[in-house]
Subunit: 162 residues, 2 copies
C-alpha cells in the first residue's frame, strides 16, 4: 500500500501556489519545472484539483493556476480524497468466514444477510476506524500550516547566520 505519486505532486504544487500568492496565476510550465514532472502529466493532476474546486485555472496568455480558497482552508485530507479517491482503504472480501457466521441468524434472508454481514465485518470495522484516525489528523493539517512551518524555519535559519 502506497500513496500515489499524484498525491505527492498535488501537495507540492499546492504549496508552491501558496507561496506564489503574489501576481496570482502560476503556469503549468513553472510548476512542472519546479517539481521536476512533465507538463502533460501534471496537467491531469491540476485538472483534477480544479474539478474538485481546490484550484482555479485560467487559460490564455499569463494564465495558469491559483488556489481557489485560502491556504488555511485547504486540508491535506481534501487533497488526499481527490487524488486517491473516496473508497475505503480496506474492504472485506469474504462474507462467509467463520467469524461472520458467528453473527448469522439462520432465520434472516440469505441475500440481505450477506449484505449486512459485509457491513458488519468486525475486521473491516477495525480497519475503518484506523483509517479514520489517519484522516482525522489529515483534516487538521492544511497547506497553510506547511507554509507557516517553512517560513518559520527559514526565519530561524537567517537569525542563526547573524
Amino acid at each position: 500500500m502506497q500513496f500515489s505519486k499524484s498525491t505527492d505532486y498535488a501537495l507540492h504544487a499546492l504549496v508552491h501556489l501558496g507561496l506564489s500568492e503574489r501576481s496570482s496565476n502560476v503556469g503549468i510550465k513553472e510548476l512542472s519545472g519546479t517539481l521536476g514532472v512533465s507538463e502533460s502529466y501534471l496537467s491531469k493532476i491540476m485538472s483534477k484539483l480544479r474539478q474538485d474546486g481546490i484550484v482555479r485555472a485560467v487559460p490564455g496568455v499569463n494564465g495558469g493556476y491559483e488556489l481557489a480558497r485560502p491556504a488555511e482552508q485547504i486540508s491535506f485530507f481534501d487533497v488526499v480524497q481527490v487524488m486517491e479517491g473516496r473508497q475505503q482503504l480496506f474492504k472485506c472480501s469474504n462474507s462467509r468466514s467463520q467469524q461472520h457466521r458467528l453473527l448469522d441468524e439462520e432465520e434472516s434472508a440469505p441475500e440481505s444477510q450477506r449484505e449486512l454481514d459485509r457491513k458488519e465485518c468486525l475486521i473491516e470495522k477495525v480497519m475503518y476506524s484506523a483509517e479514520q484516525q489517519m484522516y482525522q489528523y489529515l483534516r487538521e493539517q492544511t497547506i497553510q500550516s506547511v507554509l507557516d512551518e517553512a517560513l518559520k524555519r527559514r526565519f530561524s535559519h537567517e537569525m542563526n547566520k547573524k
Copy 2:
C-alpha cells in the same frame, strides 16, 4: 490506495485460527474453504505469517497452522506490517520544489543536502505523522479483541431469542 486482499485474507485466517484453539492445527484446506480463497494463494500468505513468527506450521498428516502466540499478543499492526511491507506509505519524490529550497543553505554540500531535504520534506513529515496515527490505533487492536467482540455479540443474540 488500497489495502491488499492479502491483508484481508491474513486477518480472517488469524481470526479463524483464534476460534479454533481446540485441537490445534488447522489445515490449509479448511482455511481456504472457509475463506473462499484458493489453497495455493492462501499458502503464500500463511508462509509469510510463519516467517514473521505470527503462526506456526507443521507439515504431514493432521498438520496445519496455529497461532504462534496468544491472540491478545497479535495486533492488527503486526499483520499489516507483514502483509503490506514496512515502507512508508508516503514518499516525497521531488527534492527540488520551492518549499524545499526555502530550507536550503547554499554552503552545504549539494549531495548531502539533497539527502537531508528528502528527510526533511515538510509534506512528507505531515503524511508520516498521519500514518503513525493509524498505526498507533492498529497497535491497540488485537486478534483477541475481535474474538471477544464476536463472542459478545453471539451471546447477546442468543439472549434475545429467549
